[in-house]
Structure formats: structure tokens, C-alpha cells
């Protein structure tokens, strides 16, 4: 679903989060780290009633699927 969090994600520079999970709530980055579970939990703790936006920022290596 397109949302304000998604629109924020599309604009923000993710250079500092390469390879990390990132959580966005209320149009700001609220958690980041190597573990999806930890980042999801941190985002839910910060905004318990919000649905977080989570993304894994691509690694610096080329991705071939």
C-alpha cells in the first residue's frame, strides 16, 4: 500500500543503512539493525498502534536473483 511512510522511504537517502533492516513510522526512521525481528519489535514498541514500514536496504554487492 502506498502510504506516507512509503513516500518518505522513496525520498530518504539510505546510504547509511546499506545491508540493514530499517523501520519507518510516522514518516521518520524509528529503528534499524541486522535483525528483522528486533527492528520490527522496536518499531512496534515506539508506535504500538501503528503499522510499521520495514525495508531491507540492498547490500553494497550486486544482487543477482
Amino acid at each position: 500500500m502506498e502510504s506516507e511512510n512509503y513516500n518518505y522511504f522513496m525520498k530518504v537517502n539510505l546510504e547509511d543503512y546499506i545491508g540493514k533492516w530499517l523501520a519507518i513510522s510516522n514518516k521518520k526512521i524509528v529503528a534499524s539493525g541486522d535483525s528483522f525481528k528486533d527492528v520490527y519489535a522496536e518499531a512496534k514498541k515506539a508506535y504500538p498502534f501503528e503499522r510499521p514500514f520495514l525495508t531491507k536496504v540492498p547490500e553494497k554487492d550486486t544482487m543477482i536473483l
Binding site: 546510504e15 525495508t55 536473483l65
Partner: protein
């Protein structure tokens, strides 16, 4: 109607850039729900998610284990279903039981949308030059709309 989304540009510390064809997806299960940019992967037979995401959503992982093959090698996987929602304000599509392969183990990767269960619901156009993705819903009863 057609949904149109832009590629996501990610700058790397070495100055190079990655432009990823992602779409905003809502993933839901019995235990949780979150929004995420999902990578469109026309080479994937089916949509894929890591085990930790399936567990967090509370998806059924009791099915039969089977090997899944990718460019990175062979992994153990299990089939399941998740609810997905995609769209914009005036055009929203919800699919209650979208099939996924869950890659078992600790490897964490972004959500990939593959052909069965997703590409078969839309006509999808990648415009690499304009860096846009268009999705036109296929109506199974009336052809295109």
C-alpha cells in the same frame, strides 16, 4: 486503471547507485502486519520471504519441506499463504491467500514477488529508462480493466 510506481534509488558509499523495481506492499498474517517495498522478480516462480518474516506474521509453516533453487544455491523451504494488499488511494487490491515460499534458516532478505500469485494477476511493465513500473489488473472474468 493502472498503478504506477517509481524505482527506488539507493546510493552506495562508493558513489554507485542501485535502482530497484519495488512496489509498496502490505503483508498480513494472524499475528502481525507491516508495509514493505517488495522487489518484483520475474525470474521467481513464486513469491518468497525469509523465515523470520513468516514467523512474525504468524503464517502456517507446518507444510512439507522441499528444496528451493536460486542463483545462490539450494535452500530448504516450505509453502504457505499470506494476505497482501497493493495500491494507491483510489485503486487498492487485496489478495487474501497469496502463495509464498518461505526460505527456512537465518538468511534475511527483502520480500520478492514472483510469477505465480502475483505476476499472474497483473500486466506488469518495467520502463527502465523512465524508472517506472506499471501494473494493470487482469480481471479473470472480463479480461482487462
Amino acid at each position: 486503471m493502472t498503478l504506477k510506481f517509481r524505482y527506488k534509488l539507493v546510493k552506495r558509499p562508493d558513489g554507485t547507485e542501485v535502482k530497484a523495481p519495488v512496489v509498496p506492499l502490505r503483508l498480513s498474517g494472524e499475528k502481525g502486519s507491516f508495509d514493505t517495498p517488495a522487489l518484483l522478480d520475474s525470474g521467481a516462480d513464486i513469491s518468497v520471504m525469509p523465515e523470520v518474516v513468516a514467523e512474525t506474521l504468524g503464517l502456517d509453516l507446518s507444510g512439507e519441506r522441499s528444496p528451493a533453487f536460486g542463483i545462490g544455491g539450494k535452500s530448504e523451504s516450505v509453502g504457505t499463504f499470506a494476505e497482501i494488499t497493493i495500491g494507491k488511494k483510489h485503486e487498492i487490491y487485496n489478495f487474501k491467500k497469496t502463495p509464498f515460499k518461505v526460505i527456512l534458516g537465518e538468511y534475511e532478505f527483502p520480500i520478492l514477488l514472483g510469477r505465480v500469485g502475483f505476476f499472474d494477476k497483473f500486466i506488469i511493465t518495467f520502463d527502465q529508462k523512465k524508472e517506472t513500473i506499471s501494473l494493470k489488473r487482469i480481471d479473470k472474468w472480463r479480461g482487462f480493466r
